[in-house]
């Protein structure tokens, strides 16, 4: 099927770059439209479809940049990242990388952070369902198994380090308010999704961040206590570790207890 493959290459080549016009010679022209005019329908639809996917995935980024700059961003992105996944859901997955590498965005770090936030919410929404662990299940654990207790977190759980007040900017844009000026603000945000399908987010203090990072990477309860000794005294530490775990389970972040 060399002829079919050649035709497909030429067709797709035209969609990716309108200066690749070999396909046009293979299209019948009629009184209604020429072959070239007919191919333009496909190339316009291609661009529109991909722009719609990016506009849907990066709604707040669009609001922050404004129509003109966002449109230019989309055009360059579409040119630079032909869709490699059969689902449009993943077309915009290289946006952070694109923003980090290209002018004028690479000198606007909050723009990258806003894109990261939007990706994190999409990932949270898409994460496969799981049955969450209950506090009763934690209470039923045998005391001897606590030291080696590990947790499996829901795929929706994500840590999002930010260097600027991008979350506040994102929140303002989501509420259709004027966003605040960009300021430095080193904060770690936690995003997760509860059973009601609503994504939640909150900031993390140093101690909880250290504990959660360790537990997400597969650490056990004893290791979590060791990490927390840097933040609390020996008496407080085990209670604080249990308190964090209860909070995560209560918030529906945990899918499995293993010991």
């Amino acid at each position: 099927m060399d002829a079919l493959r050649k035709l497909q290459h030429e067709f797709l080549g035209y969609l990716l770059d309108k200066s690749s016009v070999d396909i046009i010679e293979r299209i019948e022209s009629t009184t209604r439209r020429s072959g070239g005019q007919r191919m333009v329908l496909y190339s316009n639809a291609y661009i529109l479809r991909l722009k719609e996917a990016l506009s849907t995935d990066y709604e707040r980024l669009h609001s922050y940049l404004g129509d003109e700059l966002f449109d230019s961003l989309m055009e360059h992105y579409i040119e630079g990242y032909p869709s490699q996944h059969p689902s449009l859901r993943y077309f915009g997955q290289h946006m952070v990388e694109f923003l980090e590498q290209n002018d004028p965005f690479k000198s606007l770090p909050e723009v990258t952070e806003i894109a990261r936030i939007e990706q994190a919410f999409a990932n949270s929404f898409d994460a496969a369902d799981c049955s969450y662990v209950s506090l009763e299940q934690l209470a039923e654990l045998d005391h001897s198994s606590w030291a080696t207790l590990t947790l499996r977190f829901h795929d929706a759980v994500q840590l999002l380090p930010q260097r600027y007040n991008s979350f506040q900017i994102w929140q303002a844009l989501a509420n259709e308010e004027t966003p605040p000026q960009k300021t430095s603000d080193d904060t770690i945000w936690l995003i997760w999704r509860r059973q009601d399908l609503i994504s939640n987010y909150r900031t993390l203090e140093d101690a909880e961040l250290a504990a959660l990072t360790l537990m997400i990477s597969g650490g056990d309860f004893a290791e979590m206590c060791e990490v927390l000794l840097e933040h609390f005294d020996e008496q407080q530490t085990p209670m604080q570790a249990v308190s964090f775990m209860k909070q995560w389970i209560h918030d529906q972040m945990v899918c499995e207890l293993n010991s």
């Binding site: 099927m1 067709f11 439209r33 329908l41 496909y42 639809a45 291609y46 869709s83 490699q84």
Partner: protein, 211 residues
């Protein structure tokens, strides 16, 4: 999961892992028929049941096409022994864009292979029609639906809508139009049962090519 029907469009969407996210037509010739038939048979052997192939709307005809779309479509269905999902709106759109008679299309499709109809709305782009699925079904498409019912009988039907989705009441009114046309066009006995769908169940159980 054991779905009653599994369908896909008779088209291509990408090459070398790059996707157009569009349904683009194939050249209608013997080479493509052989190529597609082999693959439909592979899929059906894997699934253990016949699949439905659906016609698409198109805006181009290739110079390497040696036959009409319906000849191509019907021949693939015969040789692969698969079913057909006839998108009545897509026939209307392509008939307009390529200036053929949509009734010729209907008459070129084997009666016993059609398991489902699709209906949808479309938009005009100058003198071309684009399959946008964001309008109500228009009168000429309802009329073509009536012709399809006359030829293929009480085949199941889906009204598709991807954009500008109105209130449910309005959508329900479109279904009422489809029901009204079917009751005016078909006999009461024909309406009681979709004979071909029943047949499909039997055929699925019977489907068993040796690997």
């Amino acid at each position: 999961m054991q779905p009653q029907w599994i369908s896909d469009h008779l088209c291509w969407t990408g090459v070398n892992q790059t996707n157009s996210h569009d349904l683009t037509p194939l050249p209608y010739n013997e080479d493509t028929i052989a190529y597609v038939v082999d693959r439909v048979i592979q899929v059906q052997d894997y699934l253990g049941q016949r699949i439905l192939l659906e016609n698409l709307s198109s805006y181009v005809t290739y110079q390497s096409s040696m036959m009409t779309e319906w000849e191509f479509f019907n021949e693939i269905a015969r040789r692969a022994d698969c079913h057909i999902l006839l998108d009545v709106n897509n026939i209307f759109v392509s008939a307009h864009n390529h200036q053929f008679d949509p009734i010729d299309y209907l008459n070129g499709i084997d009666v016993d292979r059609v398991m489902q109809f699709h209906l949808a709305g479309h938009s005009y782009n100058g003198e071309m029609i684009i399959d946008t699925h964001d309008h109500d079904v228009c009168d000429p498409v309802w009329s073509l639906y009536e012709s399809a019912l006359k030829r293929f009988g009480a085949v199941s039907n889906v009204i598709e809508r991807d954009g500008d989705i109105p209130e449910f009441r309005q959508l329900r009114q479109e279904l009422a139009i489809a029901e009204d046309i079917a009751s005016r066009t078909l006999s009461a006995d024909a309406l009681k049962m979709n004979a071909y769908s029943k047949n499909n169940e039997y055929l699925e159980l019977d489907y068993g090519r040796t690997a």
